[in-house]
Amino acid sequence: MLGQLAILAGSFIAIVLLALLCRVLGLGRVATIESLAAAGAAVRRHQLSFTPAMGDGQTAGVLARDGKAALVFGADGRLGLVVALGDRLVARVLPRPPAVETATDGLTLRLDDITLPRVHLALTAADAAALTDRLGALP
């Protein structure tokens, strides 16, 4: 029993040290979403049935100012979402428009998804208001 506890304690210390070493070595660059086109491509990679809508020849949607998240409008009316998580991206096609809350520097989207419950979109006040209106007008 004592031996097992010692192994568990040693393992836990090793876990913390390994994660620290990973950080000290500078591994894991932070991902940013370069453009709405890149966001649209990420959603489509996630789900091939999603085709980004094109407005004026450009992917239609909103890219957060910090490049950490993007909302992409689909050609069929669905919404695609991309979020940076560490050095990778996470994408979703939303079954319905998300609940939106105003935050200090943009909007917080609330999703019915325990694996991605909240997404912050850094936006100017004007862009945040415009997006809120647009999402509110969706069926």
Binding site: Q4, I7, L8, G10, S11, F12, A14, I15, V16, L18, A19, L20, L21, C22, R23, L25, G26, L27, G28, R45, H46, Q47, L48, S49, V83, L85, G86, D87, R88, V90, A91, R92, P95, D113, I114, T115, L116, P117, V119
Partner: protein, 298 residues
Amino acid sequence: MPDLPDPVTLAIPAFVGLIVLEMLLVRATGRGAYEPRDTFTSLALGFGSTVSGLIFGGAVLALGVWLYRFRLFDIGWSWWAWGLCFVLDDFAYYWFHRTAHRVRWFWASHVIHHSSQHYNLSTALRQTWTGPISLAFVFRLPLFLAGFPPAMILFCGGLNLIYQFWIHTEMVDRLPRWFEAVMNTPSHHRVHHATNPRYLDANYAGVFIVWDRLFGSFVPERADEPCRYGIVRNLGTFNPFVAAFHEWIGIARDLAHARSWRERWGCVAGPPGWSPDGSRDTTEIIRARWQALGEPAE
């Protein structure tokens, strides 16, 4: 009956040393990838899996020992019994693992192992917390009934797990052809962890890839299509508790909304992604969509 050590516990220092070595190699070569929080989550899940094993392992072993009383043969401890036990245990692992990807009840436990978008040695330690709850051990029970000594079966299972550690790496490209033909390798297992439509639900092997070749689940890695690791709906958080329990919560929610016994059965025993109205994606739906587009490489 000899008192055998737990080989996995003995291997922990080697696991740690090899992870450090791989991190240094990633840093030096730019090949492969690590992310500190992802690594922490993987290792924390491995830690939790060990705790879960301490809690439930005794009961599982007791069941095996009880079944061993009704054994068909007295196989004993000869050298050939060790070899046969290792191969049959790997065969049982293949079928466990295949079921774990095709039946949501077992997937809910196994998904933990696939929940990282990274593929490195730390991913190998991203192990389930809920294996005993999902009854994953039933696949190994025939070995007890056949008459292999319980300690031998557990030892072989431990060796199998240790073998699977080193194949979780992008540092090794292809190994000699004879080795790739018989053994599970980094290349084969990268495909297993990939979500590209071409690679979904393939290469279930533990140690010997021959099971996949025999039972039609083998897919080779292609140079023109790099693996995209993770799950079909990747986690939007590094929280290890979400990784450990999210699919169980999903099953509970779907059961609460099910309107018939057919739907209840489907959301427990159907393939991952099954839904009554087809609104979610199974491997079959994803692959059909990809085939309709002419099977583009990603």
